[in-house]
Symmetry: C2
Subunit: 393 residues, 2 copies
C-alpha cells in the first residue's frame, strides 16, 4: 500500500512511518517541522535528543534497508499539497499533521487562531487535493477523545441513534470540546464528514485517547530512531509529567480534584490501531469513527500508578492537588465505548507498573537533561487579564 | 444600549442598524466591504443600486437626525478588532460580519478556505476582544438553520435532551451542515459555546432561516437607504430567483425534485428577532440558540406562491425542475422548532401573495437592470473535475 503520513516528524508520525515501512508498505512522510519551532518558541526540548528527520530516514535505511520518502512543506500551502498528491497518488493518508497541544492553543488570541487556521486549513487542503487527484484514497485522520468532552451519558463511537418524538435517526455524536485545539479537531471532523457525503470519500476519524510510551519495536533498533518524550506543561501529558516529577523527587501535581477521567493507550496500540484502520478501510462515502484507547483512568489514578512504580524503585513520591489551570469538570461521569478497534483485532498493551517502571528508568538515565522550570502550568484557560507576549526565562 | 453591528453594510446589517438607531439605541456599524468585492469578482450586482455606506449613514442623519458610527476594517485583523472594542465597549454586538453564501464557499479550494478562515477567525477575534475588553457584552451571532441540515427527527433549538442507557444529558443538537459556508457557522457555534463555558460570556446564536424582502420601515424613508436584493446564483436565494424569472418570462428553475424544505422569514421579522434577543439577553455563561424563522416551505411550494402571484399580475409563469447543482436530500422529513422567539413576543409577518406581488412590482420597475446570465447555477457541489480559476463573461 502506498501510504502518505502527514506530520511524519512527530511523536507518533515517525514511529508510524517506521512501523508501516517495516511491514512492507511504500511509505512517504510529510512535515513542515513546525513542532520544532514551537519548542524553540517556548524554550522546551524533548527529554531525549531527537535527530533531524533527514538523519532519521538515513538511519532507517542503514538499519533496515527500507526507504521512506520525505516531502518538506506546509499543509496550509495548497500548491504544495497538490504537488505532493499529484506525484504520490497515495492509497491512504494518515493525517497527524496538526498542532496537537491544548495549552498551546489557549496561550492567547494569536495561538488560538493559529491552531484553528493551521489545523482546519491543512485538513481542508488535503480534502481538496484528494478530491481532484486521489478520490479513492482512504483518509485516516487523527482526532481526539477530547472532542467529546465529558457528557453525562455514555460516549458512542462518533455516531448516536437518537429517538425524538417517535422518530429516529443516526446522527453525529454531540461534541463538548475543551480547548481551541480540541475545537479544531471537531471542526475537522465536520469538514471530513461533509466531504464523505458529497464526494464519496472513505474516511476514518480516530478519536484517540492520551498516548503514553516512547519505545516501539522500531525506535529501539538505533538510538537515532528515537521519538520524542515531552514533559513540559505545553506538550507533555499528565503521565509524562508525573514520571519526571517522581524522578526529580518533587510532588506529582494533580490539577484540581483529580477525578477528571480520560481514555489512555500505549504507543504500541496507536501503531496497531492505525494499521487496522488501513487494512480494513472505510467504504466509499463512509465517515467512520473509532474511539482509539484501551483503558480509562482518572488523573489521581494515574498519579497513584506512578507513585507505586516509583516507590518500588526506591523513590519517595508524594501526590499534591494544585489549582487547575484549565476550566473543566473535575468530577464527572465517564464511560466511552471503544469496541470497534477491538472487533478488528486490536490486542491492547495495558498500563502497568512495569511500563511505568521502564519509563522511570529511561528518565533516570536522562535526569541531568530535565529542566524543572518547564513543568508548572503557565497557561490558564480563563486568565484574569490579557496575556503579554510570551517571555519565559 | 450601545450596540456594535458587524457587517453593517450588508443586506441585513444595514436595515438592523437603522432599525435599532431609530429605536433610540447608540449604534455603530463595522464593515470591510468584502461583499462589494465578491460582487466585483463574480461580476454581479444587486438589482437596485446600493449607495456607499458613508452616504447611507449621511442620508440616515439627514432623514432622522440620528447618528450611526462607522468603523471600516477587517474582523480577521485582531489589532483592528481590539481597537474598536477598546473605544466602544459595547453592551451588545450583533454579528452579521461573515461570508454568507453557500455557493461562494463551494467554488473551489480557495473559496472554501477563504470562507472558513474569514468567518472562523473573525468570530474568534471578536471573542478574544470581548474577553479582554467587554466581558459583560451580549454577543448576538447570526448562524443559520442550514447548520442542522435535514435530520430525520424534529430539529430542536440548539440543544437536545438525550437519553442513553438509562442516563440523560442536555447536549448540543447534532449538526449536518450542507456546504463549507454552513460548516463555518457550525465551527463558530462550537467556538462561542466554549467561550460561554470558560469565560462566562452571554451569547445568543440565531439560527436563521432564509430571509426574503427588502423593504423595512426605515429603508423606504429615502431611496439612498435601500438594502440589497440579489438574484444571482451565488448570493440570491430561491425566492428572489423565482421572482426575477417570473418577471423575465422564463421558467422558475427548481433544483432537483423541489421537495427540499427550509425555514423562511420576512426581513421585518429578522429586525424584530434581533431586537428581542437584545432586550432579553442571555445570562452570563449561557449559550442560547434560537431558531429564527416563521414558516417552512418546500422549494416547489415557494415556486407555486410566485407562480400564483405572477399569474394575478398577468405574467405567464412556468415551473421547471432542473439538475440540482448541490448534493442534498431532495425528499426528506423536516420539522424545526421555533417557539423561543415567539415566546419573547415575535409577531410574524407571513409570506403571502401580497408580499410576493410587491416584490414582483419592484422587480418590474427595475426590469432593465436584470442580467439573465447571472441566474443559472455555475457552482457544483461535486464537480467532475477541478474548477479552473473563475472566468465569467
Amino acid at each position: 500500500m502506498r501510504i502518505l503520513i502527514l506530520g511524519g516528524d512527530g511523536y507518533l508520525g515517525w514511529p508510524t512511518a517506521m512501523y508501516l515501512s517495516r511491514k512492507g508498505h511504500d511509505v512517504a512522510v510529510l512535515d513542515n517541522f513546525a513542532k520544532r519551532n514551537w519548542e524553540v518558541e517556548l524554550g522546551v526540548e524533548p527529554l531525549m535528543p531527537i535527530r533531524p528527520l533527514h538523519e532519521r530516514i538515513r538511519a532507517w535505511r542503514e538499519t533496515t534497508e527500507n526507504d521512506i520518502d520525505l516531502f518538506v512543506g506546509d499543509l496550509t500551502d495548497y500548491m504544495f499539497v497538490e504537488a505532493v498528491m499529484a506525484q504520490l497518488r497515495p492509497d491512504a493518508i494518515v493525517h497527524y499533521g496538526e498542532q496537537p497541544s491544548a495549552p498551546y492553543s489557549m496561550i492567547d488570541q494569536r495561538h488560538a487562531t493559529y491552531t484553528q487556521v493551521n489545523n482546519v486549513v491543512g485538513n481542508l487542503n488535503v480534502l481538496f487535493a484528494m478530491r481532484d487527484l486521489a478520490p479513492e484514497c482512504h483518509l485516516v485522520k487523527l482526532g481526539t477523545m477530547g472532542e467529546y468532552g465529558t457528557p453525562n451519558i455514555d460516549i458512542e463511537e462518533g455516531w448516536i441513534d437518537i429517538e425524538l418524538n417517535g422518530r429516529t435517526d443516526r446522527l453525529p455524536f454531540p461534541k463538548l470540546p475543551g480547548s481551541f485545539y480540541h475545537l479544531s479537531k471537531v471542526h475537522d471532523s465536520h469538514n471530513i464528514m461533509f466531504a464523505c457525503r458529497i464526494w464519496d470519500f472513505r474516511a476514518t476519524d480516530l478519536n484517540q485517547g492520551v498516548v503514553y510510551g516512547t519505545d516501539t519495536a522500531e525506535t529501539v533498533l538505533d538510538s537515532r530512531l528515537a521519538t520524542s518524550f515531552h514533559y513540559d506543561e505545553c506538550f507533555g501529558t499528565a503521565l509524562n509529567r508525573f514520571c519526571v516529577q517522581a524522578v526529580l523527587g518533587v510532588p506529582l501535581t494533580v490539577y484540581g480534584k483529580g477525578q477528571q477521567t480520560r481514555g489512555f493507550l500505549n504507543i504500541l496500540d496507536t501503531l496497531q490501531c492505525v494499521e487496522l484502520a488501513l487494512l480494513n478501510p472505510a467504504e466509499p462515502g463512509e465517515f467512520r469513527v473509532f474511539n482509539q484507547f484501551t483503558e480509562q483512568f482518572s488523573v489521581t489514578e494515574l498519579a497513584e500508578v506512578v507513585r507505586d512504580a516509583g516507590t518500588q524503585l526506591g523513590l519517595s513520591v508524594q501526590i499534591e492537588n494544585v489549582e487547575n489551570p484549565r476550566v473543566e469538570k473535575e468530577e464527572h461521569y465517564y464511560n466511552a465505548k471503544h469496541t470497534k478497534l477491538l472487533d478488528l483485532g486490536l490486542q491492547p498493551h495495558l498500563l502497568s507498573t512495569t511500563l511505568v517502571d521502564s519509563m522511570l528508568q529511561r528518565i533516570i538515565e536522562n535526569r541531568e537533561r530535565i529542566n524543572p522550570t518547564l513543568i508548572p502550568p503557565r497557561t490558564r484557560w480563563a486568565p484574569q487579564q490579557a496575556t503579554a507576549p510570551l517571555s519565559r526565562p
